[in-house]
């Protein structure tokens, strides 16, 4: 990840450091591993060949990868998330991140350039005005957090599939990777990237996307858990290599589809 971060201008180094310190607290980490040790009996039942070097955590992560495959198989590219009336919008819509709102990236729209890379024909950076000129649509959908809560919001922007078409992306590639201003990142599968409700979002409700919700641009995917919907996006790569993500690398399920 370090190498990739260096490629991206404008990443806040101070926030990156904060990031590193935010990795799960020690006692919790130990409890997780302790829970892992008692998995012995369970793994025997599943017929895994238990060698000392294979920890329970590795077994659990393998099952999580298996679940990625199951979810990709379950994913129907034509199945739309339910849409709701304006009256159903949750007010106030929650701000949620691993940092406080005052630490959220504060991006100057005039200097903003959206970098596009990887398996695309045009790597020309995009200004906000160029992005705003793209055809837009609005969706009122339910945002579901991995923590369990949910909230309905209104998002307006361009279909990611339309944007991918315009940059000449190779949509046979497996992944789309997003880099965010604070160092956050996530990788999604191409079928989700091409889903009609997957959107590069510029507006929340009737207003330009506020700082709390990802100014100047987020990627809204009502078919994925909230943490797979990156905010403050500054770069995107079309790739055949899974470049992981901030939470995914710490053990959250990679696919996290709904």
């Amino acid at each position: 990840m370090k190498r990739l971060r260096r490629l991206i201008p404008g990443v806040d180094q101070k926030l990156l450091l904060k990031d590193a310190g935010k990795i799960m607290p020690d006692p919790a980490r130990r409890a997780f591993l302790r829970g892992g040790l008692s998995l012995g009996a369970l793994t025997m039942l599943t017929g895994c060949d238990i060698v000392d070097s294979i920890s329970a955590e590795k077994v659990l992560r393998k099952v999580s990868e298996f679940n990625d495959g199951v979810q990709a198989w379950l994913f129907d590219p034509n199945q739309l998330a339910l849409t709701h009336p304006k009256s159903a919008i949750t007010k106030p819509f929650p701000f949620n991140a691993y940092y406080a709102l005052e630490d959220a990236p504060d991006i100057d729209g005039k200097d903003y350039r959206f970098e596009v890379g990887g398996l695309v024909q045009s790597t020309k950076p995009w200004t906000l005005d160029e992005l705003y000129a793209l055809p837009q649509e609005t969706q009122i959908t339910r945002h579901i957090c991995v923590e369990g809560w949910s909230a309905i919001g209104s998002w307006t922007g361009v279909r990611l599939s339309e944007f991918l078409r315009r940059v000449g992306a190779d949509t046979r590639a497996k992944y789309v990777w997003f880099q965010c201003a604070e160092g956050y990142s996530t990788t999604i599968d191409m079928p989700t990237a091409l889903h009609p409700q997957t959107q590069l979002t510029f507006k929340f409700g009737d207003e330009i996307l506020p700082r709390a919700y990802g100014y100047p641009m987020k990627c809204r995917m009502p078919t994925k858990l909230g943490f797979k919907n990156p905010k403050y996006i500054i770069a995107m790569h079309v790739t055949n290599k899974d470049l992981g993500g901030y939470w995914e690398n710490q053990g959250y399920n990679w696919f996290s589809g709904l």
């Binding site: 799960m24 980490r29 997780f32 829970g35 077994v59 579901i144 369990g148 053990g251 399920n253 589809g257």
Partner: protein
């Protein structure tokens, strides 16, 4: 009790629980414990009520760990549960053991129990309360699995989520199905300890 005396006594008693019941029972015990304890940790990330579960009785250490456990043990719970239910139906065990439940029997069992005159002489025959509890917990198992599926895939399986009343309502259904199972477990474990030969039967079969 030594191994030889168990063996001698065992041969003189009929088999109460065939081997498939015992295997699926204990696999289910492990799976359900993991599901409940990791589920409590997941609940703590965004509690539905004004309480949280003590970390001392949760599994996973933090949300991601709990989710890894939950979404691994779900396979064990569902696959093992389906095998159990299929065999219960195919072998006729459910029909023989759990049906019918008459209101007269139910009344008589409650009356006997309140006078501490409940008979445990024949472990192979369930009284009406046992039948009701065992059938009830199987139903709760279905509800917990289906509501869990509806929470996991509220877009792909949105019809299922809608049947439970939408995403937020499904969280409550999932919680109360869990609470029902926990309630059953408390009674189940206490009674197994009060009547130890029932525990022995679930291990040796007799």
């Amino acid at each position: 009790m030594t191994a030889t005396t168990i063996g001698a006594q065992d041969r003189s008693r009929p088999v109460i629980h065939p081997v498939w019941v015992r295997i699926t029972h204990w696999i289910n015990a492990v799976a359900v414990l993991i599901m409940i304890m990791s589920g409590w940790q997941i609940y703590n990330a965004s509690p539905l009520f004004a309480f949280s579960f003590s970390p001392s009785i949760t599994l996973g250490g933090w949300l991601a760990g709990a989710l890894l456990w939950h979404f691994a043990a779900m396979w064990l719970f569902v696959v093992n549960g389906l095998i159990y239910v299929a065999l219960g139906i195919v072998t006729g065990r459910f029909r023989r053991k759990l049906l019918p439940i008459s209101s007269y029997d139910l009344f008589a069992t409650v009356r006997d129990a309140s006078r501490f005159r409940l008979s445990h002489d024949d472990l192979s025959v369930y009284n009406a309360v046992q039948k009701l509890l065992y059938l009830g917990v199987i139903v709760a198992g279905f509800v917990v699995a289906l509501s869990g599926l509806a929470l996991w895939k509220p877009v792909q399986l949105q019809t299922l989520t809608a049947i439970f009343g939408g995403y937020d309502a499904t969280r409550y259904v999932h919680f109360f199905a869990m609470a029902t199972i926990v309630g059953f477990l408390v009674i189940h474990v206490v009674l197994a300890l009060v009547v130890p030969k029932s525990l022995r039967a679930m291990i040796t079969g007799r």
